[in-house]
Subunit: 122 residues, 2 copies
């Protein structure tokens, strides 16, 4: 299943996505146990009908930072001769995920009020 609504040609200005990258990564890892970087970019692109396109230059440094903070753990595997680095949530990562998602949910409510937006999704 992917996200669907009427406006198909919208791509968000990059500044909008700022501040949500880590939350998106954490949420995907919560649902999928383990994923690798390239897979995350493709999944997000697919799930959002190309609205959110994570660039590798933003993604990889973020993943490295989350790993350095003890939020993510990694396993490296070889698919043929090509390396693939899987990321998973550590216990710290699991609690951070909950915090981040609830913070964002609260933020959305505040912004919805502030911008006087009528949402079309229940």
């Amino acid at each position: 299943m992917r996200y669907d609504n009427t406006i198909y040609d919208m791509i968000y200005s990059s500044e909008l996505i700022k501040g949500t990258l880590k939350t998106i990564i954490l949420k995907l890892l919560k649902d999928n146990k383990r994923m690798y970087g390239y897979e995350i970019t493709q999944r997000v692109k697919e799930l959002t009908n190309d609205r959110i396109q994570l660039t590798e230059g933003a993604l990889y440094p973020s993943l490295h930072a989350l790993e350095a903070d003890g939020v993510l753990t990694t396993e490296t595997e070889y698919i043929g001769k090509r390396v693939r680095k899987y990321y998973s949530l550590s216990p710290k990562g699991k609690s951070l995920t909950k915090e981040k998602i609830s913070e964002f949910a609260d933020f959305m409510n505040t912004m919805k009020f502030l911008l006087d937006i009528k949402t079309d999704i229940a």
Copy 2:
């Protein structure tokens, strides 16, 4: 009227507010015809129950940039001996406001979907 919900002690991490500053400024000016910088910080703080606290170091440069882009116009007034700089939306600013708000509304829907999904993809 101000925003109200159960969690009263939440202050959003700064990175969340990034990318929404200009949209917030534009929306307030749309509703209030003209406002000055300090007034904007106070109004946002008040409307969001202290959740969003705009810093002057972020606000003033943003206002200057919007003015330089022809989005905002200014009038300077003196209240006693103290200067006050009022900002208003230009015609360009009015259309930008609509764009920014609808973009954010769409973004919220996408994020709501993205952060709620259960991906049990085979």
